[in-house]
């Protein structure tokens, strides 16, 4: 597991190589658990058995670990700042060859009240999907594979690829030089 030390004890971020370990939902709950919190929202992303009508056997996640951890940290810090100060956030994403049913991402966000927990968790998963340098290659039962269409990270071209999927984009995380 590649974990990012963080000076803010309210944030934990990790990249987990599926060859070494699996994502741990309980670890996420334990991290954000706090007696000051009345709500914890958890998002779990898992590999599904079909994509665009084609049967899948698994997904390979490619990742630029160092920059991905920077994006996780910046996004979690922004959400904790927005919904804190008591909020806590856990972000972990798997990489490598995952099978159907394997967990790909776990986000947990704890806060005193449920609304902040829902909002914080949603904000972080949307940023992970649209801003983190992670690439999904789907493997199908017929032996073929395809890289998924994605969201461009380069400025004005940001919206072009992702909009085809009909999802919203958050503002890019503060990792641009």
């Amino acid at each position: 597991m590649h974990e990012q030390p963080h000076s803010d004890p309210r944030i934990a971020c990790a990249v987990v190589d599926i060859a070494e370990a699996r994502l741990d939902v309980q670890a996420a709950l334990d991290f954000v658990g706090d007696d000051a919190h009345g709500g914890i929202d958890v998002f779990i992303g898992r590999v599904r058995a079909s994509s665009h009508g084609r049967q899948c056997v698994g997904i390979h996640y490619d990742m630029f670990d160092a920059l991905a951890l920077n994006v996780f940290r910046a996004t979690a810090a922004a959400a904790v700042e927005r919904y804190g100060p008591a909020a806590k956030c856990y972000v972990a994403h798997a990489k490598g060859r995952l099978a159907v049913g394997d967990l790909a991402v776990v986000i947990a966000f704890g806060s005193p009240h449920r609304d902040e927990a829902f909002r914080g968790c949603r904000e972080v998963i949307e940023a992970v999907k649209h801003q983190a340098p992670i690439w999904k290659q789907e493997h199908f039962v017929d032996g073929l594979s395809e890289w998924s269409e994605g969201c461009s990270l380069c400025g004005d071209a940001h919206a072009q690829a992702g909009d085809a999927a009909g999802h919203a984009h958050a503002e890019p995380a503060a990792v641009r030089a």
């Binding site: 630029f64 920059l67 991905a68 690439w135 380069c154 690829a161």
Partner: protein, 86 residues
């Protein structure tokens, strides 16, 4: 300038290795690198789609780089096609 370029996602299908060692004389900015790399890829990668480079970001391990950014002194760059995590 010597450039060490890490490839990710769809670009991995073009490179024989996950990292390319390149030398582009006279480049100073990310925009210069884009132009030089586009010419290199057209010459070396059969089936190279120029649109993929246009939709891709250039980054270091710590940040995305703007077109007018100076290239890092160590020449270490990453080429990031559109992302699809989660």
């Amino acid at each position: 300038m010597k450039i060490s370029l890490q490839l990710f996602g769809r670009f991995r299908d073009f490179g024989a290795a996950p990292e390319l060692a390149l030398e582009f004389p006279g480049i100073a900015t990310v925009a210069d690198f884009r132009a030089a790399f586009d010419a290199w890829a057209r010459a070396h990668w059969p089936g190279y789609p120029p649109g993929l480079l246009q939709a891709s970001a250039i980054a270091t391990e710590s940040s995305l780089l703007r077109a007018d950014s100076a290239l890092p002194a160590d020449g270490r760059l990453a080429l990031l096609p559109p992302v699809s995590g989660g």
